[in-house]
């Protein structure tokens, strides 16, 4: 495990875009002066004639992407999650979501693991914001393999997609032959006492938590929800029915994110306790990404602890 390959999903975004450059001439990439950080620079290198820097002007970038999409192109509009979902929310809502246009939003640097830049750049609200837009698909990949597959799948899919990537290098645990299916959750580990439903970089932590729980005789199922909207309701409800209690884990506010989506889904069909691991309605601050993940409880130790607490709530 010590020599496990680690890679930030923003790197995967850039690499997958470069692959798309070779296979799909409809793909164009927009960035807002962050090509080095969002890694769209990798696409620029591969295909400079289809890369367009929009400057530090995210509102215009989003709607220009929308306009280009009406002319048959597949624009990937890229910036930090804070500016994609936050600053340009109304543009995404009115000019991409409402007309249901074929724009892909590549949102990097999501969550507190952005690190040193601090709270202004750590977006813990983007999933909540994007979930409120009818017809928006939201994908939060867990590792490099899944992220690259998600980018390729998004290009194939007709409609708006919000792709969420991280800055911090994350363990690559999916095998190279992993098959990504948009909208389908992945059961990574079977279990009967409880289910941990995780997304993004917390999927691997959830698996590690489940291993630790197993040592203590607790059988935890682990589900990876890469597509937060539309949510794989069937899989989530099945887990609620079969294991009776759920723990969600995400690098996002507990308000409006995966935990909320899961609670809403099972609340109507099979109400069981849901313990949400996430940012507890607070802002982040500066520090090393890995340190902050620990501080905010976005780690295997806290997921395991919360799983044990969840078991006490089980009816």
């Amino acid at each position: 495990m010590a020599d496990m390959v680690k890679k930030a999903t923003r790197e995967s975004y850039g690499e997958a875009l470069a692959k798309l450059a070779a296979i799909n001439d409809k793909v164009i990439v927009f960035d807002a002066d962050l090509a080095g950080a969002t890694k769209t620079g990798t696409f620029k290198k591969a295909c400079p004639e289809r890369f367009f820097d929009c400057g530090i002007a995210e509102a215009n970038m989003m709607v220009a992407a929308a306009g280009a999409s009406t002319c048959g192109l597949i624009p990937f509009a890229s910036t930090f999650a804070m500016f994609a979902a936050g600053r340009a929310f109304e543009q995404v809502r009115n000019s991409i979501g409402y007309p249901h246009l074929n724009v892909k939003i590549g949102a990097t640097h999501a969550g507190v693991s952005v690190g040193e830049d601090g709270a202004t750049h750590q977006c813990n609200e983007d999933i909540a914001l994007m979930r409120t837009i009818p017809g928006m698909t939201i994908i939060n990949p867990a590792d490099d393999v899944e992220a690259q597959a998600a980018v390729l799948a998004a290009a194939q899919y007709e409609g708006p997609v919000y792709l969420r990537f991280g800055r911090l290098a994350a363990p690559v645990f999916n095998s190279p032959d992993y098959k990504f299916q948009m909208g389908k959750g992945v059961t990574l580990r079977e279990g009967s006492d409880l289910t941990i439903i995780a997304t993004g970089i917390l999927v691997y932590e959830a698996m590690m938590a489940a291993e630790a729980l197993a040592v203590e005789g607790i059988s935890a199922r682990v589900i990876n929800i890469h597509t937060i909207k539309p949510l794989d309701k069937e899989l989530v409800v099945e887990a609620a029915k079969e294991t009776g209690v759920l723990v969600t884990a995400e690098e996002h506010s507990v308000i409006g994110g995966l935990g909320a989506a899961v609670a809403e889904a099972i609340g109507e069909e099979c109400p069981v306790p849901v313990v949400r691991v996430g940012i507890k309605d607070s802002f982040g601050h500066s520090g090393k990404g890995a340190e902050l993940l620990k501080e905010y409880g976005l780690c295997r130790e806290n997921i395991a602890a919360e799983a044990k607490r969840a078991l006490t709530l089980k009816r």
């Binding site: 289809r50 709607v63 220009a64 929308a66 306009g67 999409s69 002319c71 543009q91 000019s95 007309p99």
Partner: protein, 278 residues
């Protein structure tokens, strides 16, 4: 432009104005002032200039028109109906439940609408994206963005202007409906965007200022914009809000108010008088 064509266009624009009043009166809701001020430009574009196909509204080689000041869609709908995109009678469904003619233009509903707009500042960005797409795909269509002078207060307009000039989008033409009034009053008093011409020139646009009710000037400007290379054009059309309806002309109060029955009759009477003279 010969006198015959000028008269034909003036008659067509007068019909568009009747359509605008019919829409707003039927809905008892909508924005007559700015619709009437842009009616002549809109009529010229659809009757004389735009390469569109009413049988194939999504034809990929068509010219595009984005109504960035989407609230004046009564003018767009009337011009589209006059062109034959949908029946004139449908104008009476404007803003009503089930209508394709939404309160602000919806590209997925009304045939001929090229972009969903109305949240100010966004349509111009969409037009820029379409113009850029034309350059990428090597198509020769042109893109027109109609925006309001009050709309120039939106920061996104200037983000977009910078982008359009940077990418040398000479297939893109802004037309600014400079009627001088916005909801809260005179644009000079609310938060002045003047000098509009110097601002666009500074952003790298070719700038042409015209009387937006003079078809000869409209034609000259639109044709000249087509010859400009390496930069987008901004046509500043000086107009009168509420143009053609005596009691609406120059009144900010008619920005977003519908006429009652008596006012509607008076307004239609005004337009009938204009027609008589033509």
């Amino acid at each position: 432009m010969n006198e015959e064509r000028r008269k034909q266009l003036a008659k067509a624009a007068n019909e568009v104005r009747k359509g605008i009043l019919t829409e707003v009166y039927s809905a008892q809701s909508g924005h007559p002032g700015g619709s009437l001020s842009i009616a002549d430009v809109m009529t010229y574009l659809y009757q004389e200039e735009l390469r569109v196909d009413v049988k194939d509204p999504r034809w990929e080689d068509r010219d595009r028109l984005v109504l960035s000041k989407g609230h004046v869609c009564p003018a767009l709908y009337a011009a589209l109906a006059q062109k034959g995109f949908f029946p004139w009678e449908e104008l009476k469904t404007f803003r009503k439940v089930g209508s394709r003619l939404q309160g602000h233009p919806d590209l997925n509903k009304a045939p001929g609408v090229d972009f969903t707009a109305g949240s100010l500042g966004q349509g111009v960005s969409a037009a820029a994206g379409m113009a850029l797409a034309g350059k990428i795909t090597g198509k020769d269509y042109r893109v027109y963005a109609i925006l309001g002078d009050g709309e120039l207060q939106e920061g996104e307009v200037w983000e977009s202007a910078m982008f359009s000039a940077h990418y040398k989008l000479d297939n893109l033409c802004y037309i600014i409906d400079n009627n001088g009034l916005q909801i809260d009053g005179n644009i000079r008093d609310v938060c002045s965007p003047y000098p509009i011409d110097e601002k666009f020139a500074a952003f790298g646009f070719e700038v042409i200022t015209i009387d937006g009710h003079d078809f000869e000037q409209i034609e000259e400007a639109v044709q000249k914009a087509k010859t400009v290379k390496g930069k987008p054009t901004a046509i500043i059309a000086k107009t009168v809000k509420g143009k053609g309806v005596s009691f609406m002309e120059g009144k900010a109060a008619w920005h977003g108010a519908a006429p009652n029955e008596e006012q509607y009759e008076t307004a239609m009477g005004d337009l009938a008088k204009i027609e008589e003279v033509l």
